[in-house]
């Protein structure tokens, strides 16, 4: 197994379970399950035991490995600088081994099957992929400066589609030169990669790279931080040479040139950092700059923010497998309770997975009358006018 050489070096000290402030549990799977086995250190020791034949492949082991949200809190807070960068890679390598053995949790198996058969996790037809943009009057990508890539969640999930439309609407209204792939868009594969299906990810990545190259795409704006990560960090391994931006970075840049007037009453807003924008790419400022430029936003930070942010629980395939759901200690539910404590009435998000996870959590916690989940573009459209 790749990275097996670091497994025994984990002391299981537990810094990886916490944020930098130590205020509460910050590892999503440990937060939900509470057994030491579901902590990063537990995974390290179990993987070693599994490779040494001390424990066998089992549904429990699969649940332990696949409930990791790949949020990188462990990488961020591990105190061992000489190997911490590979902790998450070791977990993904372990997942790959179980994928090869055919021993993944049923929900992960179904997710992978859906990608294989339907090209998307929702088992919906490819012809519906571009429906999110109906009525927006956005051109297919030809020779515009940017490709706006929305991904599977933005294309098929109702919450994701709403967010994709808001972002596209803002980019359009602010006269950015961009186009979309619509029904020709394919799955980006980041979640496939993060559940350890390396072969399928490679296939998807190469397919997308070829398509983008054929269309002479130079610059890509992604709706999802997960896609941003795949295209910026992983696609170059297969020859990609595109400039990749997350939409918050592009909006922040455009905002400097657009005179915005406040609309409506001031709103208290907090921001939930997406793991694949924050900890994976250290992009903490663009979303906050956007919110700071909306004059009727009263911004307040949650106790856990930036590198200490608690994941919504939707990373690493868990958005589709829901291994972290169904509990009052599900990370999304803990996160919205934390947001309510700030006194904010809006949680700003910058990721369609986070939007969906936290919106579901608000409902599960019966907090609908106290707090709303809004993406950055939705906030711009609701609270400003040009």
């Amino acid at each position: 197994m790749e990275h097996a050489e670091i497994l025994h070096r984990c002391f299981r000290c537990g810094y990886c379970k916490l944020p930098g402030s130590y205020m509460d549990l910050n590892c999503p799977s440990y937060l939900k399950f509470r057994f030491e086995t579901y902590s990063p250190g537990g995974r390290m020791w179990l993987l070693r035991a599994w490779l040494d034949g001390e424990i066998k492949t089992s549904p429990r082991l699969a649940e332990i490995l696949f409930s990791c949200a790949t949020c990188a809190n462990c990488v961020e807070h591990c105190v061992f600088p000489k190997f911490r960068d590979d902790i998450l890679n070791a977990f993904l390598a372990g997942r790959s081994e179980l994928v090869d053995e055919g021993a993944v949790p049923p929900a992960v198996r179904d997710f992978l099957k859906a990608i294989h058969v339907n090209g998307n996790p929702y088992k919906l037809p490819q012809k519906d992929r571009g429906n999110w943009a109906h009525g927006l009057d956005i051109e297919p990508f030809k020779d515009q400066e940017y490709l706006f890539y929305v991904g599977c969640v933005g294309s098929y999930d109702e919450r994701g589609k709403k967010m994709a439309r808001s972002v596209a609407g803002v980019l359009r209204d602010w006269n950015l030169s961009f186009g979309i792939l619509g029904l020709d868009e394919r799955c980006d594969g980041n979640e496939v990669r993060s559940v350890g299906e390396k072969g399928l990810f490679r296939q998807l990545a190469e397919q997308n790279i070829t398509q983008f190259s054929d269309l002479n795409v130079d610059k890509i704006i992604t709706l999802s931080p997960h896609v941003y990560h795949a295209m910026k960090n992983e696609y170059p391994k297969y020859g990609a040479e595109f400039e990749v931006y997350h939409y918050s970075q592009m909006i922040e840049r455009l905002m400097k040139k657009v005179p915005l007037k406040p609309k409506g009453e001031p709103v208290r807003v907090t921001f939930h950092d997406p793991c694949y924008l924050g900890r994976h790419h250290q992009e903490y400022s663009a979303p906050r700059k956007i919110l700071s430029r909306i004059r009727n936003v009263r911004f307040v930070e949650m106790d856990r923010s930036k590198e200490d942010a608690l994941c919504c629980g939707g990373g690493g395939g868990n958005f589709f497998s829901d291994l972290l759901g169904q509990s009052q200690d599900s990370p999304g539910r803990v996160r919205v309770r934390e947001a309510v404590h700030t006194g904010a009435s809006v949680v700003a998000v910058a990721c369609p997975n986070c939007a969906k996870m936290l919106e579901d959590a608000v409902k599960a916690e019966f907090l609908d009358d106290q707090i709303r989940i809004m993406d950055l573009a939705e906030i711009i459209r609701a609270l400003t006018e040009t």
Partner: protein, 460 residues
């Protein structure tokens, strides 16, 4: 065990009981070198009442039950030596009350050091608790119960000295309180009642399960600083400590000796942490502190070390992460640790012992000490890193550990949070009537012998 499994699920919920091989594997061992001992089941209670019900069940069936906090002692104390139930207490992590006027906090036993530290910082910034150098997931309760020490131990002694009271589930299922809370709504002190806390502190989980406790809090001064006094002569250290502790001004005084990094080799570092509410007070304290060991500066046998800001930050960090990082010295994920409680006059002897043992067992080492109280005793530690992937190296560290324990006892010290073999060594040297009293106390509280059996059990 299969018979009680459904009952355990009924008590704590199905998601918090496991007899899966994965949990049994992880809960069979800690980070030290003690051999694994597998539990039959792992249970995570969420309330005192759930603990009580589990204990009643274990008592009815005569099943061993082993409470576990952070599981970080390195001496395998939460390994179930005779199987049974491991009770992971960390779901019980609520901070129930902070009394600012009488400076105490009431906590559930699974509350972590880090969580309390962050909670006080946010809600009661003028207060702090004594933080051990264990990682922040260590529990407050666990550390108190093993006689831990920390960043306020010069000011206030062992963490067990900072305990005001406890709620304890007895092995028979009764729930009792010790300290003032036994007769008052306030958890302010162990006095003036008979000190029943002594029935549970240092017993390594053999007499009951602590579910709540109150600990003393202390002023959190706005400014802090550190000074490091160096000498190459370990014989001088007790007097240097005597002089500095005589000021009763520091919060924490520790010593550190290690062959690496190269600049540190051969030096005894006496590290003094102090704090103040104003710059004027801090300067005044610094002057007093620098004057205390003046004799050794004048005769050039010692001096204060210049501290660049990054090094100062390291020495002021609580908990100190660099102690954890020691586990990667051999790229092997582990170190063994003897903490020995002993009088300060044994410092030089204890230091030389560490060097001799490291040479004998061909290992590197780190040694040091934390001064307890106003120079009343010290916890002298020996740490030997090992490579977990190399079974010979693991054995070497364990041999060094066992040898150190014996030598410490020969010297007149007593190993702290001793692993089961070291407990037997201690009991061999214990006054027989005292040992007999211990046996009687255990038999009285735990007639069926279900509580963490195999600990404080004399060799037969």
């Amino acid at each position: 065990m299969d018979r009680i499994y459904p009952e355990l699920k009924e008590i704590v919920g199905a998601g918090f009981v496991s007899k899966e091989p994965e949990e049994l594997f992880i809960y069979s061992r800690d980070m030290g070198t003690m051999a694994p001992c597998f539990p039959d089941v792992v249970v995570m209670p969420n309330s005192t009442d759930e603990v009580r019900k589990i204990v009643l069940l274990a008592n009815r069936e005569g099943i061993p039950i082993v409470p576990m906090g952070g599981g970080l002692v390195l001496s395998g104390l939460s390994r179930p030596l005779k199987g049974g139930i491991v009770l992971d207490m960390k779901r019980m992590n609520r901070i129930l009350e902070v009394n600012e006027t009488s400076r105490y906090a009431i906590l559930e036993a699974g509350t972590s050091q880090g969580m309390l530290q962050a909670y006080l910082k946010k809600h009661h910034p003028k207060l702090k608790h004594s933080i051990p150098d264990a990682p922040p997931v260590a529990t407050v309760g666990g550390n108190v119960l093993i006689h831990g020490s920390g960043h306020l131990s010069h000011a206030a002694g062992f963490h067990s000295d900072m305990l005001n009271g406890m709620e304890v589930v007895l092995p028979t299922g009764k729930v009792v309180r010790t300290g003032s809370c036994a007769a008052s709504p306030y958890w302010f002190s162990r006095a003036p009642l008979p000190d029943l806390a002594g029935l549970f502190i240092g017993w390594l989980g053999t007499t009951g399960i602590v579910t709540r406790l109150a600990i003393k809090l202390f002023p959190n001064r706005s400014l802090s600083d550190v000074a490091v006094f160096l000498t190459e002569d370990p014989e001088l250290v007790p007097d240097i400590i005597q002089r500095i502790t005589g000021l009763q001004m520091a919060e924490d005084i520790t010593a550190w000796m290690a062959p690496k990094p190269a600049w540190a080799s051969g030096f005894q570092h006496v590290i003094v942490n102090y704090a103040a509410d104003s710059q004027e007070e801090l300067t005044w304290k610094r002057r007093l502190l620098y004057a205390a060991p003046r004799k050794y500066i004048d005769d050039r046998t010692g001096g204060f070390m210049p501290l660049p800001p990054n090094m100062k930050k390291t020495f002021l960090e609580a908990p100190a992460t660099n102690l954890t990082v020691f586990a990667d010295v051999k790229k092997g994920g582990g170190f063994e640790y003897v903490g020995a409680i002993m009088p300060i006059e044994l410092f030089a002897q204890a230091y030389r012992l560490g060097i001799d043992i490291a040479e004998r067992f061909n290992t590197t080492y780190s040694t040091g000490a934390r001064i307890i109280g106003a120079g009343h005793c010290m916890m002298f530690f020996y740490a030997y890193p090992f490579n977990r992937a190399d079974s010979l190296d693991v054995q070497r560290a364990q041999d060094a550990l066992e040898h150190t324990n014996r030598m410490v006892l020969d010297m007149g010290g007593i190993p702290w949070k001793a692993e089961a073999p070291a407990q037997k060594e201690i009991m061999k040297r214990m006054d027989p009537d005292t040992l007999d009293l211990m046996k009687h106390v255990m038999a009285m509280l735990d007639p069926k012998g279900i509580m963490n059996p195999g600990n404080w059990e004399p060799a037969t």
